[in-house]
Every structure is written in C-alpha cells, then in structure tokens.
Symmetry: C2
Subunit: 297 residues, 2 copies
Amino acid sequence: MATLRQLEYFVTVVDESSFTKAAELLHVTQPALSHQIRTLERSAGGPLLERLPRTVRLTPTGRAMLPHARAALADAERARCAARQAAGLEVGELQIATLYSLTLGVLPAALRRWRQTHPDVGIRLFEHRHTEELVEAMNAGEADVAVGAEPTDWSGVTRTLGTEELVVVVASDDPAATGDTIKLQDLADRAWVHYAPGHGLADVLDHACAQAGFEPRIAVRTEQTAAAPALAAAGLGPALVPDNILDGNLPRGSHVLRLDPPVRRTLTAYTRGEPDPLAAAFIDVLVWGEHAAGTRR
Amino acid sequence: MATLRQLEYFVTVVDESSFTKAAELLHVTQPALSHQIRTLERSAGGPLLERLPRTVRLTPTGRAMLPHARAALADAERARCAARQAAGLEVGELQIATLYSLTLGVLPAALRRWRQTHPDVGIRLFEHRHTEELVEAMNAGEADVAVGAEPTDWSGVTRTLGTEELVVVVASDDPAATGDTIKLQDLADRAWVHYAPGHGLADVLDHACAQAGFEPRIAVRTEQTAAAPALAAAGLGPALVPDNILDGNLPRGSHVLRLDPPVRRTLTAYTRGEPDPLAAAFIDVLVWGEHAAGTRR
DNA sequence: CCAAAGCCATAAGCTCAGATCATGGCAACG
DNA sequence: CGTTGCCATGATCTGAGCTTATGGCTTTGG
C-alpha cells in the first residue's frame, strides 16, 4: 500500500515539475524523495513520472493516479480536521497582526497555503504601519501571532522566517532603467518616492541610504506600500519596495533594479507565549512559504 | 499527519468493535495496534474510541473522523488501481479453479475481501469435484490459480494457505448430540451421510475413518457438499463437513461435534508458473482470509 | 570544445518508527 | 474466587526512511 507520504511527495513533484524543488518544499533531501517516488512507482506497476532534463512530466500512469492521490491527501486532512473540530481543538479564527507591506507581500501566499490545510479556520488580520506599533499591539494582547521585522526586546517566543529583499522600481524611460542591478549610491542625487513618516518602509529606505552615504531627497510620500511602484512607474522617481509585493505584477511602464549590495529585511513570527497549536501551525506554513519563495528567485 | 496504516487500523477496529480481532485481521499484534491508535488519537486531539469491557465504541471525535478515514483509504486504493490499470497491470478477470466444497467454504469470504480491494477485477470460477480433476484442469491451462488440497507432484508454484477443520454434523436428537467433541471411533458403527465416489470429501472421510480403524457404513451418498449437513440434520446419520461451510448457518435441528483428535485438510493455492500480479494478490487475500477464518473458531 | 551547473539516481550508514514479546491491570463470567 | 477476555505499557529488535557522498547525464555559457 502506498503511504500518504509517498502520495504527498508525488503530488509535490508534479506541482513543482522538479524533484529538487519538491524536496526543498518538503524539507527532505532529493535522494530521499527520489527513493520514495521509486517505491511508489513499483507499487503502481510502472513509471509515474518521465525524468526529462530540467523538468519532469507525468506519464499516463501518473496521470491516472494523480487525482486519486490528491483526493486521498485531502481526505486524510479532512479526517484530521473533522476529528479535531469534534474534539474542540479547532477554533474558529486565527488572529494575525502584521505590517501593511507584508499583507501585500509574503502573507497572501502563506494564507493561500493555510486555506488549503485549514479550510475551516477563519483569519483575522490586524495591520500596522511599522514595527513599534505592531509590537505595542501584540503586547496589548491583540493577536495570536505577529509577522514582521524582528522586534527588539521581545520577551516572548520568536521564530525567524527568512528575509525579504528590497528592490528599486523606476520608470521604463528613466535613465537608470538599464540593466538588472544598480548601486544605491548611484541614485544619491535622485528625488525618491518615499513613504509617510512612521511607515515601516520609510525607516528601511532612510537606513539603507544612510548606509550608502546619502540622505534621500523626497519627490513624494505615500502611506500605501502598494502605491510606491505605481508612482515610480509614473516617473516621480525611484521607489524601494519588497520584491515579493511585485510578484510578477509589475506596473506598466516600470523597470525593476536589484541593489548591489542587496538591501534585505529579516522577517520574524512572534508570540507572547508558547504558540497555541493553530498559531504554531501557521508559523510552520510561513516558514514553508518563505522557503518556497526563496527557491523561486 | 496520520498515516494510511493508522487510518486502516482505526477503521478495522471500528468494524470489528475489538482491538484483538482487528489486530488478528491486520496480522499485527494487539499492542502494535493499540500503539498506532493511540498515536492517531494524539494527532486527532482526543480519544476516537471508548474502550468498554468486551467492546469498543466510537466517540463523537471518532465518529467525525470515520467517514473521511474510509474515504482516504478508498482514494489511496483507487490511486493504486488507476495507476496499475493505466500501466496495463489490471486485467479484466481473474480465473480461479477450485473444489466445490471450497466454493461454499473459504472462497466466499476471500472473494468478498477481494472485491473490496479489487472492485474492477472480474472473477471466473471453475469448480471441480476433487483434487485430481482440479490438477488436470490446471495442467491443461484452465485457470490463473487453483485453490484446493495440496496436489502431489505439482511442478509449479504452491503456497500453503492453512488448514480447514472437518466437523461432524448430527441431528439434534441423535444420541451422539451431547457435548462439543467426539472421537471418530465412537461413530464407527454408524451409517454415514457419505459423498459420491470421486467427490473430494469422500476420500477425506474414508481416510479419516481408516485412520480411526474402521470403514464407514453408508446411509446415503450426496454429490453436493452443501447437502451433507442438511441430510445429517434430517437424521440420516453423521456427516463430516468442513466447518467453514457451516459458518454460522447451522441447519435447523442439527448439532455440531468437533473431532478429537481433529481431522484437518490442508489448503493450498497453486499456479503453473510464478503467479502474475493479480493471482499473487489473490493468494495474499486467501492467506489473509484463512487466518481470519481460523480466529473465528 | 570544455568546464561548470543543474538534476536525478544509487550506495552506505544512521536513526527512529513500528513491530514483537512480556507483563500488568481491570472487568466480566462461571 | 479463580479464570478468561481484553486493552495498555514497557523493553527490545528490525527495517523503513532519512542523510551524506558520489556518480552519471544533459544543458549552458564562456
């Protein structure tokens, strides 16, 4: 009999079209994954996947198996959720406190994944402009778990999720819109699309420019993270934004430049005490999501 | 994540209302089963089963989980079958050659189980009166697998399934219908419900009586195995029948006596060459069924 | 054309999950 | 009250599933 683990491995390889990527997502090494798929193939009576250079594709045998494999995984998860709900362990809502920019950045992907595994758990989002505000709210008992930049002097439990990278968006016809990378000091005399005082990314931009030896002149300030790339595309000046809020949705008429050296922000999930089961599960999803995001760059 | 094994264990305990019986069916020891159910319960967040003296019952948590557990198991099996069919390994029909008495005895249970795991595989039965005939038919290429008494000088592959025990059926008002066991020689002067010459069980009865030191007088001969218990119940005399053809369906007005010492017939599955995957799978089911039948005595 | 990178498979070794055997505790039964 | 039935727990063993190391093949880029 196939194991759920094997079925999960198979489905993930199919979804990623790659053993290596699936192994990373699943937090096992590629040989372990390879071995399990092989075992599954022996049980199935033939190859499920055709190994091509740089990708894999489903065989007819694999195609026949895939929907049932997905169904088995879903039913097993439903079995667990149904039992836990009956046991009173599934609460109706997970409360998350976070920064505005993360609502646009890392959270959507994580929440998408969360919904797949916990379809019956509601989400309540508390959004804050910057880290101090977020920390205050958490200390005041606002949410189950916070997601943001690493707080200083946090007395509770923290878990590092990874880093997000900041990139520069400029208009397509901007003189700087050549090549893929740029040095921040090359934009020292530019007027920037900046963020409103107190906005979390304002500090990040100011700090990065200070490190590069200049103070940014201000073309415009916005309170909305999502507005920054659009304003940059409109030609008001360069904007520094987390690359994960772009995620393929580049404003028309804009150009993205990576910074050399890179500017990064470390992301952390933190709770006041030991996270309850739901919060812990969500943190795991966040860790997974961050890892997956990393492999796509 | 729960494993399919745990889900299977859980479902089987529910179906049998007993850890001990489920463990026997699943060919594991009771402590192993107990441990797996415990692990599943921890994942589910609470007890799935209420352990009562002499039985178990579902908790609300267990009741919530059960249908999804069944679904997951079914999906996993469908995944496997779909793949094997796509791989050309699922043929439309399994051909089984056997003895008449086994069609009434061990085969129904085995076929019931087979249908659960291979719902799409047809069964074709070839029934024979005794072993020589069965062997000839198999040598002539009749079926994929034969089930019967151990053949002599079989050049192919054999697999011992276990033994079936022969019991004596008498009428309720028969003088011998006292107690649960009897010695065969205590029935030496009785006229027996015998089987037609050439019937497989005729040899078994003759041989057993010869071992006990007498030749059975004949009250009546029947060509139908299933008729023997009924004739015995009618008072024509004792009949020697495999206990598994009774299987709880005792003819009205009859009494069953176990023999001391027991008379048994060894059952074997055999194929001409290495069994193909379907035949091998069926043999596994037979092995499983024999074990389960043994525990019900 | 060659070196490097990407990607999967295989082998050896390690660890822990899942099994067995032994035993104990509790309830029911005769 | 002793026996039987039944599940839980503990100690021990084994094999499944993992990691690390390595190899083979293809593709890519200089």
